[in-house]
């Protein structure tokens, strides 16, 4: 894995050779066969352009220096030459045909998602990704993990600033993984440069792509399609591990999910809910409704002192569980479990001067979910 080392920008000016050499100037070669092929196509077409550029700009600058009037150049008067014109129409055409052949081959390979070992459904949502391992009964939600204070400059930025998440997509290496993409709201685009996968997630439609990672490692990318306010803040992180480790991880995660769901039946104390709720609020809700619950109206209403929400528990619960169509408010039944939703609702009803004293029990939320 390459090390990306960047001097702090305040120091990193044009002249510092270390920083200039250490940063990436070019498309990554990547860790899949497809990404290698794409990189080599990129380099071929780049060098073709350089070669044409040398000839064309060479001719231009030669003319500019050689035929200056100040050097006594006298203008010729020719203005047509059919043979030359035919030649410079044909040669570029031939270069293009030569270029189209490998490009077509690579594209065909990229479009063959058949015979996959694992299917993962990727759902874009303003502004996070959700990954479901199809047939495995496991789904993860992946949020930006960079703290707000790093964005505002109150604390120093870490190396993976804006490219770190709480839950990476874990995939096995040497296995063909078929990726199915869709979206809950607007169009997003799932992109990891090292995997050379960029595919739009379109609401109501499903797209597919695939990846077979050759090397274990952590690969970072971002949403590539403008998707609203926090478009810059929905990174993609893929963690590729050996297949055996992947199986172990899968079993552990399923077990953990089952454990988390256990708490549904018991009675939870207000303190306990508040503590859990604060965590959930911080990682999920705070980006829009703000850490202090003030929101940013009109798109993101304030929760602190929100009378509609405080006076009507059912409305509050329903909004969190099912979302609001046509707005950025997602249906959290897809993302959070009953305990997390109960905790965050409790938190919202008792934080920032909201003092209802309500402790919403997970069991009440579970009724609204499709428990078998």
């Amino acid at each position: 894995m390459r090390i990306r080392y960047v001097w702090p920008t305040t120091l990193g000016c044009l002249g510092l050779p270390q920083s200039v050499l250490a940063i990436d100037w070019n498309m990554p070669v990547g860790v899949t066969d497809v990404s290698r092929e794409i990189h080599s196509l990129h380099m071929i077409i780049f060098w073709i352009c350089v070669a044409i550029g040398v000839v064309v700009f060479g001719a231009l600058f030669y003319s500019v220096f050689r035929y200056r009037r100040s050097r006594g150049a006298r203008a010729a008067s020719f203005h047509e030459h059919t043979t030359v014109e035919v030649i410079w129409t044909l040669i570029p055409t031939l270069i293009l045909v030569a270029m189209a052949i490998p490009a077509t081959a690579t594209l065909k390979k990229m479009y063959d998602a058949s015979a996959a070992d694992l299917d993962v459904m990727i759902t874009g949502q303003q502004w996070r990704w959700r990954y479901s391992y199809l047939g495995e009964d496991l789904a993860l939600t992946s949020n930006l993990a960079t703290p707000r204070s790093e964005v505002t400059g109150e604390s120093p930025k870490s190396d993976n600033y804006l490219l770190e998440v709480d839950e990476p997509l874990v995939l096995p290496v040497d296995r063909k993984v078929r990726l199915l993409l869709t979206s809950d709201d607007v169009i997003h685009s799932w992109w990891v440069p090292d995997l050379a996968v960029k595919q739009d997630a379109v609401p109501g439609f499903v797209n597919e792509n695939w990846v077979r990672i050759n090397e274990p490692g952590i690969y970072r990318g971002q949403c590539a399609e403008l998707c609203g306010r926090d478009h810059a803040f929905m990174p993609v992180v893929v963690k590729a591990v050996e297949p055996e480790r992947f199986e172990t991880w899968l079993a552990e995660r399923k077990e953990a999910a089952a454990q988390a769901a256990l708490g549904v039946d018991r009675e939870w104390a207000l303190d306990e809910l508040m503590k859990r709720g604060e965590q959930v609020y911080g990682s999920i809700c705070a980006s829009c409704h703000q850490p202090d619950g003030q929101g940013s109206p009109p798109a993101f209403p304030a929760l602190a002192g929100n009378q509609t929400m405080l006076n009507d528990v059912d409305y509050h619960i329903e909004t969190v569980v099912n979302g609001v169509s046509g707005s950025a408010m997602p249906a959290f039944r897809n993302t959070l479990n009953a305990v997390e939703m109960a905790a965050v609702i409790t938190y919202e009803r008792n934080a920032w001067g909201n003092e209802t004293g309500d402790a919403i029990q997970p069991a009440r939320i579970a009724e609204l979910l499709d428990a078998p």
């Binding site: 920008t9 940063i23 070019n26 009037r69 020719f78 030359v84 964005v151 109501g204 169509s325």
Partner: protein, 544 residues
């Protein structure tokens, strides 16, 4: 309504004086502001268009400066992401529809009648109306910045459903203003077509027309063909937003991807609308200062037509990652690659025009030469973007931003500036100040490259476009880009200074202001009187 005025209204008043001094023999209409409101004279309307475009160039530029200031360093320092998105959107919309297109229409108004020996445009009153739609449209568009929920924030490509279901309330005003700008373009195009086809001086055949006229004729047809598609797509947005239809909403059986097909069916010809007149300008300027006829006049005309026709067959190369079937990817990859052939022919013709000429480097020539070099760089990155598999990596990154800014800024905008320097002596009777023009040129060239070249690297290294904050490995590129952007922005103040000084005075220009200039506009006095060619001039083809 006053938004057509330039940042300082001094240019306006001096323009009035200059125009007034040359028109006293004919002019008998209203005076003062009403005169400009009601004028049907192609030169005055051309001036209005150019001043409007200049003011929009500075407003759009100001938005770009805000964007670059926020992107100077990683982290959010100056503005919030909501406002950042409004800035990128408004920058794009204003530059495309408010600065570049009206500038070309202004040049067309001024120069097409002069270049073909016509007394005026074919439909002078319609001409007035098409101009005055623009200040209304753009006042409305700018007013959205002050509306609740802010201005449009979904990018200048306004993809649904971000621009429909999830859009701010001001979107309705955005749609109306775009409708008005579209109607203005269509009316302008009809006028230009009618003028070129019917008002040429007797004896001037189509293949005798200067290339600026030719490229504008083809551009006007493109406008007629695609502006209705833009009108259609924004009307569908309006219906989706307010009348419960579901053209672009999957919930009601629509398809968000349909929006992109429709938008780019308009949008790709639109990018050629912004570059074909630039080709024409450069094809007129290079022969003048090489003192040698344009090489391959006929092939230039055919190449322009070929580019225009092909522009209808390449739209989906903007959508390579949207989930098109393999066959569509291949078709659009091949057709896009094909478009580089006629474009290449043009570049080769320009360079051969210079070859064995007798070159001098007055300001218009400097800008035209920079155009050839830098537009070609934009063409190279365009060719790279055409390779569909590689586009999966390039798409929606700063590589794309670098590409289209190379074809639009040192492409279209440099060509407009070349045209202004070229024709200023004809418009004002004075040569632009030489030293200042040279400073403007060199600062612009340095600024433009410092701004847009590092964007290639940022994009290849993985920086998505339209983000207000970015990961640390992109920091150096962005700092250089921002510094370049500020330099380019500031150096445009020099341009205004040059234009203002040129209106006020300077070395007197003769009728034929440039030694190697051949076209008909150089047979009338400098400054051009308000009414010219009331009797069709004699014309002898000099090319063939």
């Amino acid at each position: 309504m006053a938004s057509h005025l330039p940042p300082g209204s001094s240019a306006q008043s001096h323009q009035l004086e200059t125009a007034g001094t040359v028109s006293d023999t004919h002019y008998a209409g209203p005076k003062g502001l009403m005169r400009w409101l009601l004028t049907t004279n192609h030169k005055e309307i051309g001036t209005l268009y150019l001043l409007f475009s200049l003011s929009m160039f500075f407003i759009g530029g100001l938005f770009a400066m805000v964007v670059r200031a926020e992107l100077f360093q990683p982290g959010l320092q100056l503005i919030q992401p909501e406002f950042f998105n409004q800035m990128t959107t408004m920058h794009g919309l204003i530059m495309v529809f408010g600065a570049v297109m009206p500038a070309f229409v202004g040049l067309a108004n001024w120069m097409i009648p002069l270049q073909i020996g016509a007394p005026d445009m074919a439909l002078p009153r319609l001409n007035n109306f098409s101009f005055w739609l623009l200040p209304v449209a753009f006042t409305m568009l700018l007013a959205t910045l002050f509306m609740p929920g802010g201005a449009p924030n979904f990018g200048w490509t306004f993809y649904a459903p971000l621009s429909t279901t999830y859009a701010p309330p001001s979107t309705t005003f955005f749609i109306f203003s775009l409708h008005m700008a579209g109607i203005s373009s269509i009316l302008g195009a009809i006028n230009i077509i009618a003028t070129i086809l019917n008002l040429r001086t007797p004896g001037m055949r189509m293949m005798d027309m200067p290339l600026f006229v030719w490229t504008w004729l083809i551009t006007a047809f493109l406008l007629i063909a695609v502006m209705p598609v833009l009108a259609g797509v924004i009307t569908m947005m309006l219906l989706d937003i307010h009348f419960g239809t579901s053209f672009f909403n999957a919930a009601g059986g629509g398809d968000p991807v349909l929006f992109q097909h429709l938008f780019w069916f308009f949008g790709h010809p639109e990018v050629y609308i912004m570059i074909l007149p630039a080709f024409g300008i450069v094809s007129v300027i290079l022969p003048t200062f090489a003192r040698k006829p344009l090489f391959g006049y006929a092939s230039m005309v055919y190449a322009t037509a070929a580019i225009a026709i092909l522009s209808f067959l390449v739209w989906a190369h903007h959508m390579f990652v949207v989930g098109l079937p393999l066959a569509a990817e291949l078709f659009f990859m091949y057709s896009t690659m094909l478009i580089s052939v006629p474009t290449g022919v043009k570049v080769f013709n320009w360079i051969t025009t210079l070859f064995r000429g007798s070159l001098t480097f007055e300001p218009p020539m400097l800008f035209a030469l920079a155009f050839v070099v830098l537009f070609t760089i934009g063409g190279f990155s365009g060719l790279m973007l055409a390779i569909s598999p590689a586009d999966f990596q390039y798409h929606d990154t700063y590589f794309v931003v670098a590409h289209f800014h190379y074809v639009l800024v040192p492409g279209a905008v440099f060509a407009i500036m070349a045209a202004v320097y070229y024709w200023l002596p004809k418009w004002t009777g004075h040569y632009p100040h030489l030293r200042l023009s040279q400073w403007h040129f060199w600062l612009s060239v340095i600024g433009v490259n410092l701004t847009f070249f590092p964007m290639h690297f940022a994009g290849l290294a993985g920086m998505p476009r339209r983000i207000p904050d970015y990961a640390l490995q992109f920091a150096d590129f962005n700092m250089v880009t921002s510094i370049g952007g500020f330099l380019f922005g500031l150096s445009q103040l020099l341009f205004v200074l040059v234009v203002v000084l040129c209106i006020r005075g300077g070395n007197k220009a003769p009728a034929k202001a440039w030694e190697g200039a051949e076209d008909l506009e150089w047979t009338v006095a400098s400054p051009a009187p308000l009414h010219t060619f009331e009797t069709p001039p004699d014309f002898t083809p000099h090319r063939h």
